[in-house]
């Protein structure tokens, strides 16, 4: 048992660079998926918690009559069984000094829709007001300034934040959809001397404390209650507009942005996981091939298949556990701290953020874990079906073959000898070829999507709230996609180059014996990798284009024509830079081995 344990440890130390590469690849995949997949739930949870804390109304009833609501009508609502509490107040839009403005006559002592006091004090006299904080459309006001309306000069005593106005894109005027409000002011309802009708009833429904306002369940619940309210004579649609949160502009924008980010979050992980699974597959295959003699040794010594299998399963198990744990950690702490500020450009987000949502991260981790273990079990089991006697023989190097291109004699004859060899080698290991092409293709598509979204988001100039919001949210995410796809590609290339070298040690030795210089030997190896990556890139560009078209369609913004021509150059040169570090590192490892 002790000796067996030692060999298990040796699996890690002996294949250390492979172990690290495997851990890092899994880590990158999981951290991206966790980070990007968890960000929308995190933002939505934060907003939801904030809305709960401020006790925003679930329904706002707006009277269409000039006289507004009577207290009897409010009582009628209060008497409904599903109502928790209500508030009655005034809210209307008007022009003040030619500026689109909204005026509230607000019950500051109410429990519903608590305004947050950012500066100064709440108004306490008929000629005092509070104003909404500055944002992209709402102009900055200072305490002590005055606003004149209806012949009264109001003094600003406080700056407040209305929880229903958490988007920084401001609010359209109810009178004119093309105009944004530049001033929102709050009179103290109890002190006001203006004869204002009660235009609004804020309604808080009886609901589960945990209910999430972004969930379909909540939204269905609210619309069913709206229907009940509308059945009442006084609240028919022609008299009263019944608004749910979905009619709130801030909420609608946040929901829209969240949905779009979610599409990206769902699409990219699929790509990432596929590429990572492919890499794990070849890495484990290669590792078990290398240990062939060792496995034969165990078998001839009478170790059970189960015990041999366990050794490799442990290798996969420990690498994936470390990778997944690291990925979850990085994905839930580091990545959100990069993306969350992007959302803060768009929304007034509460500073205390809700904890991370791990759903996508955990699901992907389970998928990653299961596929890693499964792949390992399959590969090792296949090896174990061979008899110890055949296992003791080295796996014959795959035979060379005449390839299709050679039939085209006029091309083949013109090719230099070393290119012939490279081309034949490329088709010699078909599995390897597909693996490289597919992973490079996937990474290229990812990088291209990253660049495409970035280019498009920087070219959107329309002053459309949702589009601008989406743009500033998507830019950092697209940068993140580019960086992660790049890291992934470096690791993929490193792994593949290393494997290619490992598999062909004898051939490399032969070349060295024949007096080939180091550079010529390197060229012999890298020429193949380069050609195969090139195939991958060439196939990856249409795939990336498809992915982008899909994303653009879904996001309803941007277009493939927005992608700058130089981004394509970046994609190509990016591969150049990716292959550089991985090549250097592989070379470094190779140079340690002599003939």
């Amino acid at each position: 048992m002790k000796a067996y344990f030692k060999t298990v440890i040796k699996t890690f130390t002996g294949h250390f660079s492979r172990f690290i590469a495997l851990v890092l690849i899994i880590l990158i995949g999981i951290s991206f998926v966790t980070g990007v997949g968890g960000i929308t739930p995190k933002v939505e949870n934060s907003i939801n918690e904030y809305l709960t804390l401020q006790n925003v109304p679930d329904i706002i009833l707006k009277s269409k009559k000039d006289t507004g609501f009577t207290s009897d009508e409010r009582q009628e609502i209060d008497d409904l069984s599903f109502i928790k509490e209500t508030e009655i107040l005034t809210c209307f839009d008007t022009k003040i000094d030619d500026e689109e403005s909204r005026i509230y006559s607000y019950p500051f002592d109410s429990d519903i829709n608590n305004l947050k006091l950012l500066e100064g004090e709440f108004p306490d006299s008929y000629d005092e007001i509070a104003v909404e904080q500055e944002s992209s459309k709402i102009l900055k006001r200072n305490i002590g300034e005055t606003v004149t309306y209806s012949g009264i000069e109001f003094k600003i005593t406080g700056i407040v934040s209305n929880p229903l106005l958490f988007s920084k894109q401001g609010e359209q005027s109810m009178n004119n959809e093309d105009e944004s409000l530049s001033l929102i002011l709050y009179l103290n309802k109890d002190k006001s001397i203006l004869p204002l009708p009660n235009t609004d009833i804020y309604v808080v429904l009886d609901k589960k404390k945990s209910s999430n306002r972004y969930s379909k369940e909540y939204q269905d619940y609210v619309s069913s209650k709206i229907k009940v309210i509308q059945e009442k004579e006084n609240f028919k649609e022609e008299n009263v507009a019944s608004l749910s949160l979905e009619e709130n502009q801030s909420f609608a924008i946040s929901e829209n942005v969240g949905n779009k980010v979610n599409v990206i979050a769902a699409l990219f992980p699929a790509f990432f996981i596929t590429v990572v699974a492919l890499v794990v597959l070849t890495t484990m295959t290669r590792l078990i091939d290398e240990d062939r003699k060792l496995i034969a040794c165990y078998r001839s010594l009478g170790y059970s298949k189960h015990k041999i299998r366990l050794k490799y399963v442990l290798f996969a198990l420990i690498s994936s556990i470390i990778g997944i744990a690291g990925g979850l950690l990085l994905g839930s702490y580091v990545i959100p701290s990069v993306i969350y500020p992007a959302f803060s450009n768009v929304f007034f987000l509460p500073s205390v953020t809700s904890s991370m949502n791990f759903f996508i991260g955990v699901i992907s981790s389970i998928a990653m874990f299961v596929s890693t273990i499964l792949v390992t079990v399959i590969v090792i089991s296949k090896s174990l079906t061979e008899t110890p006697a055949t296992l003791l023989l080295p796996k014959a190097p795959k035979a060379g073959k005449v390839i299709l291109l050679e039939k085209a004699g006029f091309i083949w004859k013109r090719l230099k000898f070393k290119y012939k060899s490279a081309i034949r080698n490329i088709f010699r290991y078909k599995g390897r070829l597909w693996m490289i092409v597919l992973s490079v293709m996937g990474s290229t598509a990812l990088v291209m999507a990253g660049f495409g979204i970035y280019d498009s988001s920087s070219s959107v100039l329309e002053i459309d709230g949702i589009k601008v919001d989406l743009t500033s949210t998507l830019q950092p995410i697209s940068l993140l996609v580019i960086i992660f796809a790049m890291l992934l590609s470096i690791l993929v290339l490193y792994n593949l180059t290393n494997m290619n070298i490992g598999e062909r040690e004898r051939e490399i030795a032969t070349l060295k014996v024949l007096g080939y210089h180091d550079l010529e030997v390197d060229a012999y190896i890298f020429r193949e990798i380069l050609v195969m990556s090139l195939f991958g890139i060439i196939l990856g560009i249409p795939l990336g284009t498809g992915l982008l078209v899909f994303i653009f369609n879904y996001l309803e913004f941007g277009g493939i024509e927005n992608v700058h021509w130089y981004s394509y150059i970046y994609i190509l040169s990016f591969w150049h830079y990716c292959s550089l570090p991985s090549s250097i590192f592989s070379l470094f490892l190779k140079s340690k081995r002599s003939i």
């Binding site: 014959a396 190097p397 795959k398 035979a399 060379g400 073959k401 000898f417 070393k418 012939k420 060899s421 034949r424 080698n425 010699r428 004898r506 051939e507 030795a509 032969t510 070349l511 060295k512 014996v513 024949l514 007096g515 080939y516 210089h517 180091d518 010529e520 002599s594 003939i595």
Partner: protein, 234 residues
Amino acid sequence: MNNIVDAFRVSKEYGTGSAKTLALKDASFFIEEGSFTVILGPSGAGKTTLLNLLGGMDRLTSGHLRVGNTDLASLQDSKLTDYRRIDVGFVFQFYNLMPNLTAKENVELAVEVTKNAFDPEETLKQVGLEKRENFFPSQLSGGEQQRVSIARAIAKNPKLLLCDEPTGALDYETGKTVLKLLDDYSKNNHKTVIIVTHNAAIREIADHVIRIRNGMIVADEHNDNKKKIEEISW
């Protein structure tokens, strides 16, 4: 006769500290140009070490080793590569052919980087493989593969042909054919061939036999009544 190899107190150590092993100790000998030399010894005696040093595949720890006009002890790495490229040809026990290249291409692989080389097709004809030149190694028998590897080595027109157990993986008859090929090559072209082997029977066909044991040369004798290959057996 000129000596093509001049070895003086050649030693080779592997490893460091307590793992240090002396693979070759103070080996001194000459090898005449155009001779057919056999380096004979049991496994682990240091034969392959000596061959690797002669072939510029490894560096000596101490001593002097000259091949032709080249002083192998003081050569830079890249010059050592040039030496392998131009001055020596190798034949191994397990052929070491490139599996993805045809017989002819394997020969071309060696010829491409050297000067004064022979024509690959011509050389394959010389080893009797003119009809197999477009075959891949996996499509050839062991003896044929070894002949390709010999063709690859001699096509370079090297000063020195080094063979490490060239018959080791072959059956008796095929082994003899391969030896004959090497012997004929040496005789007809006045080329130096050095064979490393543990097979004592081969010593009888050599001009010069160097015996080695425990890293030391224990005998260095010239063979006056050299036998023909047909006359020996093992």
